[in-house]
Symmetry: C2
Subunit: 326 residues, 2 copies
Amino acid sequence: MATKEKEFVIGIDLGGTKIYSAVVDRQGKIHGAARKKTKAEQGFESTVNRIVQCAHEAVAEAGVSMDAILAVGVGSPGPLDLKAGKIIETPNLKWKDAPIRDLLQQAFNRPVNVDNDGNVGILGEYTYGAGHGAKHMVGLFIGTGIGGGVMVEGKLLHGYNENAAELGHMILDPHGPKCGCGNRGCLEAFASRLAIEREIRSAVAKGVKTKVLDNLKDKNARIRSRRLAEAFADNDPAVAPAIRLSAEYVGYGVASLLNIFNPEVIVLGGGVVEAIGDPYVEIARETAAKNVFKVAMRNVRIVSAELKDDSAVLGAAVLGWEITEK
Amino acid sequence: MATKEKEFVIGIDLGGTKIYSAVVDRQGKIHGAARKKTKAEQGFESTVNRIVQCAHEAVAEAGVSMDAILAVGVGSPGPLDLKAGKIIETPNLKWKDAPIRDLLQQAFNRPVNVDNDGNVGILGEYTYGAGHGAKHMVGLFIGTGIGGGVMVEGKLLHGYNENAAELGHMILDPHGPKCGCGNRGCLEAFASRLAIEREIRSAVAKGVKTKVLDNLKDKNARIRSRRLAEAFADNDPAVAPAIRLSAEYVGYGVASLLNIFNPEVIVLGGGVVEAIGDPYVEIARETAAKNVFKVAMRNVRIVSAELKDDSAVLGAAVLGWEITEK
C-alpha cells in the first residue's frame, strides 16, 4: 500500500490557448497542477517545451519527485495519428505532422499516451465525473473550437482511422458560416468561442453597441470567456444573442447526437459552458428536446461537465494509467 | 451435414410500402422469396396477417416444409422497444405500441428476432455484402423514409434505449423543410422519396413541366422509384433537380457521418439509390468529399448496397440465425 500511494501519472490538457497539467493518483485526485499559455504561433516545438515546463511545475506543486511519476497522458487537438503518436493537422493551431508522443517521451523518459482532446474529456467524465456508470455517453466541449467524444458500451469510439467523434464538424447547415476546417455550417462554425466572437464583431459592424470590446489590447484580440459571461448576464445586446445562437446550435447538435447515438448522458463542457453555466445548458437542452425523436430523449440526462475544467486533464490521466497496464 | 442443409430461417423486410420475405440458409443464400404490399393504413394486425401470408408464400416457393424453418428475423420500421418486441411508433406508418414480435411468434410458433430496418440493412451488408471484413460501417437506406444502421467494431450500435442510428433524423438545417417526425430539416426531410415527391410537386405548382405525374391514379399518388429513375435519366426539369437535391443532402449527411464515426465503409442503399444507381451515389460521394475533414475521408469506401434489394431481408435472416444460437 505504501508504495502504491506514492505512484502518480501526469495528465496534460493541451488546448488552443492554454496548457493545463496535473499530477493525479489512481483515484483521480489532483495533487498538484500548473497552467501555461499554449502560444501555438511560436511553433510546435516551442509549445512542447512549454508543456514539459508546465508538467514539471505541477510535479513541484504536488511536492513529489519525478520518480513517483509512472506515465504521462495527453489530450491534444486533432486529428491525430494514434499509431504514430502524431498530430496530423490542427485547424485552429496551424500545426502539421507534429510528433507529440515521441518528443514528450524523450523529454519525460516515461511512456506517453496521447488521444484527442474531446476523447479525453469524455473519458474523464466517464471515469470520475458525470458518467456514474453510464456506458453510452456523448461529450461536446465548447471552447476555442468544439471537441467531441463518445463512449459506446463503455469504450471510446475511435473508428477506422481513429479519428471518430469529430462532433464539432457535424454539418448543421451546408450554407452556413465558414468553419476553421474549410467547410461550411459545421457546429463549430455556429457555436465555438471563435464563432461567438465573429457574431459579436459582426453585430458591432452593424452598429450594435457593446462593452465587451472595450479595453481589449487590439480590436481583434481574444474576448475571454469570463468577460463573455459577465456581458451575457448583463444582457449585452451584441453578446447575449451571439451566446444564445451558440447554445441553440449546440442544442440542434445534441438533438442529432441523441438520434444518432441514443446515449444515456450527454455532457456539455469546455470554456464557454463553464463560463456561462446553467443558462447555456438550459437553452441547449430545450432546443434539443424540441428537435429530437421522443424515444431518443427518454431518460436522457443532458448535463454540464461535472469535473468542470478538469474533465480533459483527468481523462488524460486515465490514459496515463492505461499505458502503465500495457 | 444432411440435416444442417435442411435448416433455414425466414428473413422479413417490413417496409413502408412492401413486405419482402425470404427463406435463407446459413450461407445467406435465398431459396425462395415473396412480396406483398404493406397496406399499413388497414391497421397493424392486418399487416401482420399479410406478413405471415407472405412468409408462407416464400416457404412454398422454396419448396421446403415449415419444419425446416428454425426461426424468423424481422427488420421493422422504428423506433422499437427491443426488450418488449414492440414498435413504439412509426412516423410514416402511423402505428403505435404494436407488439410485432409476440404476434409473429404466435403465428409462426418459432422464435422471432426483431430489429430496426436500418440496423438489419447494415447487418446484411456487413455479413454478406459490401462489408468485406470492415468492422466500422455506416449504412443509409433511402426509401419512403431514411433508415440508418451503424457497425462499431463489428457490432450493431444500439445505444442506451436501443434506438441509436436514427440517421435519417440528423438535422441538416434547423430551418429546413418539415419532417415526418415533426421536426425540421432532418436528412429525411431533404432526401427521402417523400421529400423528392414534395420537391417535384412544388416545382409543378410553380409551373415547371414534368411527365412524371401523368397517368397517376390521382395527383397525390405515390411516384414509383423506377418512374423517378426514368425521368432522371431523361433530365426531366422537375425530377432531376429534386433527385440531385436528395443526393446532395445525402452527401452532407455522409460528410457528418464520416466525421462522427470515421468508418471504413459507408453503404448507400434503399429504393431510391437502387433505382437511380451510380449517378446518385456519385453526387453524394462528391458532396461528402468536399465537406469532410480530409482525415476522415482517408481510405473510406462510399458504395452502393452490394445486396441491392436484399440487404435488409438478409440482415433479418442473420437475426434469425442469431436467435437460434441463444
